[in-house]
Structures are given as structure tokens and as C-alpha cells.
């Protein structure tokens, strides 16, 4: 038991009565603590204290403190109010019809609480006086700690392995791949262009000749040809142009359809 630990129990040495007035409320751990201190000063068994006298001392104390300093924690004032009520219950005889607890009962409750707090303080004191580990009882000074050897067992399946291999081999490739943006001639566009190019020409001209500007880009060649051919068939159907191919794989020739021609 070190001396410091008993401090709390020893220090509230009952101050001389005149000192009471100067005791700082902050020194008390709440109103119950203050009441217990006041009760101790009656120097009788807690069971035999005069609750009435105790209430008066407390009220007087709080009054003094309030004169000296304005702030007194609300707790203390609540307790003061309760004690004033208790005092009145103790002094005024109980009416028959009164449902409120009697003054004696309230006093007993207060006494019980003071005794219980005192008991807990003594218990704490006794607890701290026990032969505690590290103060009077010791554990092994040189413990021999358990050495734990940790080994990792790595776990992987063939599938994990192959997946890892395949995915990294493809990684670069997949990143490089970007779909080629193709320009596609719509049938509508192709028809407009063909009509414009053929104009009023009644001469047979190969389709590729008309489209020569557009066929320069290899990527677009296929779509230009396909859309133009499909549109030309449509224009033939509408009777706007004539279409001729003289030999297999030969050039497609086209001209404006002569309406009056039969």
C-alpha cells in the first residue's frame, strides 16, 4: 500500500468548525460527499446522526458558499431544496391523509445512502490495502514467453495459376485493342450523291468513275461501293437511271433514264 493511495481517505480530515465556512465546494465530489463529511463531524455512528441537524448544517454551508461565490453547482442546490423539504417534513407533524413519504422515511433513506457511500469508501480502502500484484505479491520476474513460429502455407490452384498467366499475357493486347471507327455510307446518302453526280448525263459512265473521289480511301471503298450499288438499284426501280454491265465483273455503267425513250 503506497501512501498516496490513501490520500482521499485521510485528507478530508475534519476541519475545525470555523474552517468549514471556507471549504471550497469543488473539494467535494458532489452533495452526498459533502453531507457525509458533515455527518462525520457529528462524531457519532452514522446510524445515530441527527438528520435534522445535518440538513441545517448543509443548508447553512451552501448559504455561506453562495454568499462568497455565486456559482454553486446545480446538484448542490437541488440537494439543498430536498433537504429543506426534508426539514419541513421532520418538523411538521404528518397529516393522516398525506400520501407523501413521511419525514422519518426520507431521513432513513438519506441515512442509508450516507452509510452506503461510507461503506463503499471503506471497501475501496480495504481493496487498496490488499496485497496487490506488483506491490506485495509478484509475478514471475523473468517470464519465458512462448515462442510462436509461424509458417505460411500458400494456397493456389492450377486454375488460379493458368488464369493469372493467361490474363497477363492478354493484358497488353486487350489494352491496345480499340474498335475501328468505320465510316458507313447510308443508302440515303449514297442515293443523294449518285443523283447529284449523274445529273442529266445520258452517257454510259462507269459507277467507279463517278465515285473515284470517294474510293480513294481503302477503308471506305467497300461501303461506298455497296451502298452506291444498292441505291442505284433503287433508282432503277424508280425509273430514274439505267444500269448496265456488259461482262462478268465488268464495270457497272449507268446513265440518266430518258423518260421519253422506250
Amino acid at each position: 500500500m503506497t501512501t498516496a493511495q490513501t490520500d482521499w481517505f485521510e485528507t478530508p480530515t475534519p476541519p475545525a468548525d470555523e474552517d468549514v465556512m471556507y471549504v471550497d465546494v469543488d473539494g467535494y465530489e458532489g452533495p452526498l460527499d459533502l453531507l457525509l463529511d458533515l455527518a462525520r463531524r457529528q462524531k457519532v455512528d452514522l446510524a445515530a446522526i441527527s438528520v435534522l441537524a445535518l440538513a441545517e448544517q448543509y443548508l447553512a454551508f451552501i448559504e455561506t458558499v453562495r454568499e462568497k461565490r455565486i456559482e454553486v453547482a446545480a446538484d448542490y442546490l437541488v440537494m439543498a431544496a430536498w433537504l429543506a423539504y426534508l426539514k419541513s417534513r421532520l418538523m411538521v407533524p404528518q397529516a393522516r391523509s398525506d400520501d407523501e413519504p413521511s419525514g422519518e422515511m426520507l431521513a432513513a433513506m438519506l441515512q442509508f445512502r450516507l452509510k452506503r457511500l461510507e461503506a463503499m469508501r471503506q471497501a475501496a480502502n480495504r481493496l487498496m490495502n490488499l496485497p496487490r500484484l506488483g506491490s506485495r505479491v509478484y509475478a514471475r520476474g523473468m517470464p519465458e514467453p512462448m515462442a510462436v513460429t509461424r509458417t505460411n502455407i500458400w494456397e493456389a490452384t492450377l486454375y488460379d495459376l493458368l488464369k493469372a498467366y493467361a490474363s497477363q499475357r492478354q493484358r497488353g493486347i486487350t489494352e491496345d485493342y480499340s474498335p475501328i471507327q468505320r465510316t458507313v455510307w447510308s443508302l440515303h446518302d449514297a442515293r443523294d450523291i449518285l443523283q447529284r453526280l449523274i445529273g442529266e448525263s445520258f452517257e454510259w459512265v462507269a459507277m467507279d468513275s463517278y465515285l473515284v473521289d470517294y474510293l480513294a480511301t481503302p477503308a471506305e471503298r467497300a461501303t461506298v461501293r455497296a451502298s452506291s450499288f444498292a441505291s442505284s438499284l433503287e433508282l432503277v426501280r424508280l425509273g430514274q437511271i439505267d444500269l448496265r454491265q456488259t461482262e462478268t465483273f465488268g464495270p457497272l455503267l449507268m446513265r440518266r433514264h430518258k423518260a421519253d425513250c422506250s
Partner: protein, 217 residues
């Protein structure tokens, strides 16, 4: 046959002796079992070992469910070391600790009721950090307040075999200071050392995060 059995017992006792001596933390029967093998009756072995060390300078002591070698109480005066100035517990912490020890399971409101003053959160934290108290569960009352109790480390620190060894316990019980004699608002539960009481619920998963560190395991 008898000799064989005796030999096995001796071997097991040596093993328990070595393991308990090596550790400075108390160990429970379950964690000792793997060292001696499943068939062994660790409880009996420990009691035999305790017998053997009774009266020696080092004793085998029981702390809750756990066991540890500790220097004999009566030699304390000889062994007193220059203690590195450990900060003494504040009065609030001391009172709170003893209220929890004697009244457990106790809610914060109950602690405050006994002390007649609000308990700073720091006080409970400090006691939890010291490993002496833990959150036990939740009281089955409105608001479901957390209940606090002491740990095995508390028993170990104060050299108690169980909570019934708390000093003055019988007296306090006898005087009614631990039992509710007065109106319901003053009812105080008896210390209760087992898992959960009728009016306690287990802690919720959320609670456990902060609880685990302090749980005696």
C-alpha cells in the same frame, strides 16, 4: 499399473508447473489442456500442484477461472520494491471501482446513485484501460443501459480467488448495504459473478468493439 498412473500424473504436473511458471499471466484450464493432452484432468492436476506449493515462497493461486504462480502473501514486506511511481487512482476511480466490484452488474446510473454525483466517462475508461472492469451486458430496462463488472485481471491484481473474497463482503451483505431495503429507487443488486443475470442482455455487436480490449479472456 498404479505406478504408471503415478508417473503420468507426475509428468503432467511437471508440464503444468513449467508452463505456469513461464507465463506471468494467469492461464485457464482450457489453455493448459493442449500441453498435457486431452485425456488429462487439468483441474485435479492444478489442485494437486497447488497443494504441493502451499506454504512455499511461491504459491499456485487461483484467480477466477485462471491459475498463476505468485509470491506468497506473507513475504510481501520483504519483497517490497522501490515502486516506480505509479499514478494512484483518483478517489472517483477508486469509489467507482469498488462500487462496480461490490454491486456488479452495475450500470452507470447505479454507480452515480451510490456516489451521489455524475461519473465522468473518463473514470470508466480509465478502469477499463487498466483492465479491471469490463462491459458485461445490457440491463433489460428502458434505455438498455450497459452493465459493468470486474475482470479476472481485477481478481489477479487484488489477489482474490473469486468475488466472494472481496473484503468485508459478508459484513456488507449482513448490514443490508448491498441489498435493497429501501424503496425501489434504492434497490441494489447483489454482486453477481456469472455470465449474465436474468435482467441482463448480452452486449450488442456494436458494443463489443470497445469491449473486447478489456474483456478478460
Amino acid at each position: 499399473m498404479y505406478d504408471d498412473r503415478q508417473e503420468v500424473l507426475e509428468r503432467h504436473m511437471r508440464i503444468l508447473e513449467a508452463v505456469l511458471f513461464a507465463s506471468n499471466e494467469p492461464l485457464d484450464a482450457n489453455s493448459l489442456l493442449p500441453f498435457v493432452g486431452d485425456g488429462a484432468r487439468v483441474g485435479e492436476l492444478l489442485e494437486a500442484l497447488q497443494q504441493r506449493y502451499a506454504g512455499r515462497g511461491v504459491n499456485l493461486v487461483r484467480r477466477g477461472d485462471k491459475w498463476a504462480f505468485r509470491t506468497a502473501d506473507d513475504l510481501g514486506f520483504l519483497l517490497r520494491r522501490e515502486e516506480s511511481e505509479t499514478r494512484p487512482l483518483s478517489r472517483a476511480a477508486l469509489e467507482t471501482l469498488s462500487i462496480i466490484a461490490y454491486h456488479q452488474p452495475a450500470t452507470r446510473a447505479e454507480i452515480e446513485e451510490v456516489r451521489g454525483v455524475a461519473t465522468g466517462k473518463g473514470t470508466l475508461d480509465l478502469l477499463m484501460e487498466a483492465g479491471w472492469i469490463r462491459m458485461r451486458g445490457r440491463r433489460r430496462t428502458p434505455g438498455r443501459p450497459v452493465t459493468y463488472g470486474t475482470t479476472d485481471a481485477f481478481l489477479d491484481h487484488f489477489g482474490l480467488e473469486s468475488l466472494s473474497d472481496l473484503p468485508g463482503m459478508d459484513e456488507l451483505k449482513g448490514s443490508g448495504l448491498l441489498s435493497g431495503r429501501l424503496p425501489a429507487t434504492l434497490q441494489i443488486p447483489l454482486p453477481f459473478d456469472s455470465a449474465l443475470r436474468d435482467d441482463e442482455d448480452p452486449l450488442e455487436p456494436d458494443d463489443l468493439g470497445s469491449d473486447e480490449d478489456h474483456a478478460d479472456d
